[in-house]
Amino acid sequence: MSPTDVPALAVEGVAYAYPDGHTALRRVDLTLAPGERVALLGPNGAGKTTLILHLNGILLPTTGEVHVGGLPVTKPNLREIRRRVGIVFQDPDDQLFMPTVRDDVAFGPANLGVRDEALDKTVAEALEAVGMADAADRPPHHLSFGQRRRVALATVLAMDPQLLVLDEPTSNLDPAARRDLADILVALPVTALIATHDLPYALELCPRTVILDEGTIVADGPTAEILADAALLAAHRLELPYGFDPRRL
């Protein structure tokens, strides 16, 4: 098998129950080819965040396996897995915890052992990629929400991930910040899984969509086809914005 045949992400038969017995994932099978951008849709409580936490081993499946670039997500591999998988969490205030933007973006690569000039270069490039190079010495809490989300993306890009995972990237963003983020994401040459309630965003950014509901993948196909299936959307508590018709784009 040549390296390009190895899926960027392979989730096989993953089930997970929380310690209190609540079953969050019943059975998830999902494969992402390298370079693919895929939208992960589903109602609240479908298990999206739980699935995301499996992709870098924060949670380990009760049954089933996760592979990232061919490497199984197991305890001995966690360090390499977390370098390969970059997760941008929903609340940037959870992700940005260092005194300055520069320190925060440096946190991930520094954990990987990058130091001095190489670290400065990595930080500068990551901030450049999200258009936040000017903010390096500012404390995160002095930035606007949209800027914080971009810096949160930079903290992950600084680790040069092979798989980028975003949890609700457009929540609480104003339309301009939402647009800026889309432009940045489209320009990134990286495999991405984007969990969102923002269906037009999914259509714009992701050629492929999967729907997760009640802990299992219930639909997987081209985004335009899935969004055109009103019955499917309604069955899983999803709805297009008023007046939005994916077939007329």
């Binding site: 998988v85 959870d94 005194p99 946190f107 954990n111 990987l112 404390p139 680790m159």
Partner: protein, 263 residues
């Protein structure tokens, strides 16, 4: 954090003076040494305190810090000084007559001691905080080999103070919006519930932050704080600045020593 709106920058006043440019660890060490020298000065040596005050005025001028602002920020020590105010009233004999009040002489000396040393110490700290950003301070403490755990705790505190006060403010507005405005202690039930909720929320946020840290390869040890602004490591001009910084506590210490010898 009394500002409430917008961005509370704390005490820091950005600037480009020699004092601002000084490496943070030098400033922290000089401030600490100065405070020790002041505390070690005998309370009878009024002239030595005069020298100390003069040193601070010189540093304030160098840092382009308006003296009036410095004095205004000194207000923070007032609650502590009220304690000193009681000493002359409750102190022991001998007593002396001031404006018709019988005041204890040891008490007066005690009050003066607290007032003079407290004011000088607070003023020095205010100068440090006004010329050094929080991020730089943390770098300075780190370079002085303060355990990383302490600088990390301080860093997290500064980072999340605003997030949590923001949360508290929103909860208060939501409470007021439902017509609940407690004024007295016995109406504090909802207030206590708010505090509890805030605690739980902060705890949960802590868990989420920890997950975010793990996701970026955190393995139990924080990387050193590093801010480009906290440079000041160039030779030459910087060496002179460091020498001047060392001069401040040195002069204060010399004054204290002279006062002890001549006393």
């Amino acid at each position: 954090m009394s500002g409430g709106h917008g961005h509370a920058h704390g005490l820091y006043r950005p600037g480009a003076t020699a004092v601002h440019g000084l490496a943070p660890q030098v400033k922290v060490a000089a401030t600490l040494a100065f405070v020790f020298a002041v505390v070690a000065t005998p309370r009878e040596a009024f002239w030595a305190f005069g020298v100390d005050a003069l040193l601070l005025v010189v540093v304030a001028r160098l840092a382009a810090m308006p003296l009036l602002l410095l004095v205004r920020r000194l207000v923070i020590e007032l609650p502590f000084l009220t304690f000193a105010l009681f000493l002359p009233l409750v102190g022991e004999a001998p007593h002396t007559e001031v404006l018709g009040l019988s005041l204890s002489e040891p008490g007066l000396w005690g009050a003066w001691n607290i007032l003079a040393k407290g004011t000088l110490g607070v003023a020095a700290t205010i100068l440090l905080a006004s010329t050094t950003s929080v991020a730089e301070l943390l770098v300075g403490l780190d370079r002085l080999h303060v355990p990383r755990v302490f600088t990390a705790i301080a860093g997290f505190m500064v980072r999340y103070a605003e997030v949590i006060t923001g949360e508290a403010r929103r909860m208060r507005i939501a409470r007021l919006s439902r017509g609940y405005d407690p004024r007295w202690l016995w109406q504090g039930r909802a207030l206590a519930a708010t505090a509890g909720t805030l605690f739980i929320r902060s705890f949960e946020r802590g868990e989420r932050i920890h997950v975010a840290m793990l996701s970026r390869g955190f393995a139990g040890e924080l990387p050193p704080a590093r801010s480009a602004a906290a440079g000041g490591d160039a030779a030459g001009a910087d060496r002179r600045a460091r020498l001047l910084a060392a001069l401040v506590p040195a002069v204060a210490a010399a004054a204290a020593l002279t006062a002890w010898i001549t006393a």
